[in-house]
Symmetry: D2
């Protein structure tokens, strides 16, 4: 596996399976003296944590990281930072039959092919969305470190079940229990989730993330530009099937005269009149807000019967997935994308 | 800069500026004994080369790579493979004023901020689309190596200026001068390009790339999955602003019951009935065709006057870009995306 | 810091400080299905563990790794393998004054300069020899995995306090409490250690490590050859100040006609008559035993008064180091070098 | 192969075979605006170049690098720097029979095993000492860049054929045709080389390299410390069989009270009274001169008949190597080690 992100300076190693003793992360390459506000970090982690409301899985985990190393008196000490979260509320019996009859839309089948039957199947193993918790520990800390430098990383639901959050995304919606700008749209989204749940189904959506305060000149051309790095991290989040920057796919239908962001001067700073580029030109930040969106597929675990195959007999089998699942992971994925972006951006500026 | 792609086994180093002595690449990590069909490679490179038709820049470059090292008797010898392409047809005078007055939509401004005035500005320097030629040398060779293993990498224009190529993409369109399935749609696209050119403007589009023949089990979870690797390479292509796999952004509007690809057995092989996942589950191939699309923004270099800023005086300036430019790079980018995909996929299977 | 070893396939992340909650490691990139014999591993770790005899520090730590993730039913499951060892027997009060008055021969001063006062100074922090315990967890597991393939990794004390272990190193001395071939020489070495301890001093030595069973053709030329990789890992062990392969520094005094290992055929296999090359030609194994030696400096922590400097006042200060220290770490370093070699070699053969 | 050095910031890709069209290098990760004095670089390369005196091979190569990319107006422009050296004076006929009957002490056999007969055997291919020329291009440029920062990298012959250069190594001997401090010792060394040549034999030696002016605090603990990085690069130089820092292997015979470098204050700076540590504690520079030595084995190519094996018939064969060879590569290796050290150190300080 390659569960180690090797950035320019940072190395982020994420470990654990859904039902192993613990999950966790080691973040290597941090400077010494970085303050870590564990209370604010916990609040950040709580935005992702399951079992807190009506639209997510009833599995409850405290998701309280224990820092084993790398912290001293509330600051990084220069040594690798390691945090673990114990897995307490596991119900392995839910997953026994999926080893032979893989769930559509899940990694059950591909993992079985790759790991030849040795994988820790239970709960999705290392492929579980639960592994985004340690990503949030790392990203939550780096998001704090960016904030100290005046760089904010905020995401919102941009669309869910086809319902758009039309409002301008000017500031964080992090304090909201449902991270949208337009609460009326948010209410519709929640209804769509409940309706999907009632029908034993699930819905997906699109998350928008904005990084503000990034100075111009951050990034690289070619293989390690801002887009490459962010995309590489964002595709580490299960269920992400697309990433776009600025106008993104809509850019493909624009003409150059419309898409090119004209330069202007604002308060002595070079800016652009529009921001179709999403703050990135040639892989390098131009000082405008860095904007990207990620497409989240509908949760593959649904209550409805689905068509699968028995891998031993190669005969068709109808599968009804039991266990506890989110009818929509989009709201919980919002801080996860902030975390992924924070890792990518912080790695580019140290 | 980070113009070295560090894959699992491959290291691809791309060098050169638009108007330097030469551009080229070193590909390290290849096994010994890989045959290189230089004639087929040249045909592949010609699909990208400029100046061959009415929709691309009149700049003509032979784009014939000279192999300096790594080849012996038509096969790789295990040592790094290095090829260079001399820059012969350069007109540096076209670019003199852009150092102070950056072109909207280009990396002129961000490169100037990052490299503090030392960059080789001429022709776009290292940021020029011309640097996709060495990527095509590397990718063209690896595409051959994949073909030997029964894995094909083919792309087509999926949409251009809003016009869709609706046809099912069953086989390569590489032999066509305009790479679409539906030639009638292709004709409309060409008209749209000519119309944009006539108006001093440009258009963008979406390219679809399909990798067939990939066995199940290729890839990794988390940071180095197929999606992460492909995205990392595809965003190295200038003008790409979005990448999606399988149903991609459309997945966000589907329900799980619709998006999940039901498993079935076909000729003794596990397959899926639909392919919304684009052949990837959990970062790992499932044996179905790997499908991705990339959004290409309209060429930023347009003949129309644009609003810019004089970086010395910080006063507004109207800029009219001279020089030779494509009104649409989408057709030429088709083999480039095949090359990027071939590098990503080959690196995952050796 | 860079406490993550990035090999060809393996990523080994080591974390912890001497007095942090725990120390540990994550080993990413292992294949699934590798059996881990935890009892044999514990025996291996015990060879390194402190407090077990008269020549090492009285600090006692159980050094029992807890596997948090990556193991299932005694085998690797493909997910990263994480093990932690709790730090239980810490006496932080021993180290309070060393922050201002650095110990000669230690990293106290350089760490203070680098980490600007934020480092976790206590017990040597991340620089402590204690961090070789997680290296031994990783290396001990990989040494088992190599043994399954018929590759053995064994080390012995080659010289200690100037006393040579002259015997031919044909097989493992791992089961011995003092790892030498010639027990009489070993007895002399132990006397030398006791004598140094009695005088408040310490001694160093040279460890020889032999890897047998490695097939020819393993390795790479240039930057990632066997020598480069082994050296890179061996210099991660505190107190190592030199590494040599085969005849090593003695080769510098040989003539080519003496040093060149003549080829011969033995039982249908190409071998060499002598093994001055230490089993490596051009960075690649030649099928002969891979032999290297590492010079271990005398333990810097000695009871004698030493000359230091007060970093605040920049005035000279006489320092007497308290705390518990080994008068010689060479015996305990023997399995550590086996571990380092096992990581390097295993990474080259998968 | 892995002929790409991946440092913290730098990526150095070295390509070419002894008899390929060209050899060369791409150095990626340099800041923009670094001046390159090509004349001084040529003088540096001439110190390594063959055919200039009575102790090296009569093969003459101009070894004049052509910069294909990355330079503008004598400065780096931020894009990767690529230089090639054409191979002009190749005599491939000299090497025809060595493919079947490998030379003792060379990589002929191991390369044949690894590359399965596809390697470019001629002249040693990619394993040839000739590939140290591009390393010197990279290192020569970085040595200039270090000098601008007050950091000098100088090496000398420390021992050759058992003859020591006893003099204190205070400043560069780069301007000397034979790089020793004590010219009388140097004369003896030259006689030893001539004597070896006359007898169809070769001699080895030890090179000492000193980096002065390095501030304290440069480096890392564990896997990417100064020692690890330097060792990794130095073992990329063919014929190096050992590396030691400071007192190195002699440290193994010292007591702690003797080896520990006492701290003192000199002109307001923390220094050490002795420098047995070679300027490195815990992988991090302590402000004292960084000192290391590398053991160079005697040139394996000797005129004398040697015992080899016919790889096809597996029968013994007596081999007499023809072609042009150095009876001693130690003098020419002096700038190569400076280059390796410069790459390692520069990568640690940017």
């Amino acid at each position: 596996m390659s569960s180690t992100f090797i950035g320019r300076r940072l190395r982020l190693s994420i470990f654990g399976q859904s039902h192993s003793e613990a999950i966790g992360m080691t973040l290597d390459g941090l400077p010494a003296g970085l303050p870590v506000d564990t209370e604010a970090l916990q609040a950040f982690l709580n935005r992702r944590a399951p079992g807190q409301n009506d639209w997510s899985t009833p599995r409850r985990e405290a998701d309280r990281p224990e820092f084993l190393a790398g912290l001293k008196d509330g600051c990084t000490c220069g040594a690798p930072l390691t945090a673990v979260i114990r897995n307490t509320n596991t119900r392995p019996r839910d997953y026994s039959k999926l080893k032979i009859t893989p769930r559509p839309g899940h990694a059950d089948y591909t993992a079985e092919v790759k790991f030849g039957g040795f994988q820790d199947f239970s709960g999705g193993g290392h492929f579980s969305g639960r592994l985004t918790a340690p990503l949030c520990v790392a990203g939550g800390i780096l998001r704090q470190a960016l904030a100290v430098r005046g760089i904010t990383v905020d995401a919102r639901i941009w669309e869910l079940a086809g319902i758009r959050d039309e409002g301008a995304f000017e500031s964080s919606v992090a304090e909201k229990s449902f991270p949208v700008v337009d609460d009326a749209a948010g209410e519709q989204m929640r209804l769509a989730i409940q309706s999907a749940r009632a029908e034993g189904d699930s819905v997906g959506g699109i998350i928008e993330c904005v990084v503000r305060g990034l100075p111009p000149g951050v990034g690289e051309p070619m293989f390690d530009g801002l887009e490459n790095q962010i995309a590489r991290l964002v595709f580490a989040v299960p269920a992400v099937k697309g990433v776009e920057f600025g106008a993104g796919f809509r850019a493909a239908r624009m003409r150059g005269s419309e898409h090119n962001d004209a330069f202007c001067v604002n308060a002595g700073r070079v800016e652009t009149v529009t921001n179709h580029a999403g703050g990135i030109l040639g892989g390098i930040s131009n000082g405008m807000p860095l904007v990207f969106r990620a497409a989240i597929k509908p949760t593959p675990s649904i209550a409805r019967a689905q068509q699968s195959v028995n891998l031993k007999t190669l005969s068709p089998e109808t599968l009804t997935v039991e266990g506890r699942h989110d009818p929509c992971i989009v709201p919980r994925a919002v801080p996860v994308l902030e975390a992924a972006a924070a890792v990518a951006v912080y790695d580019m500026i140290i």
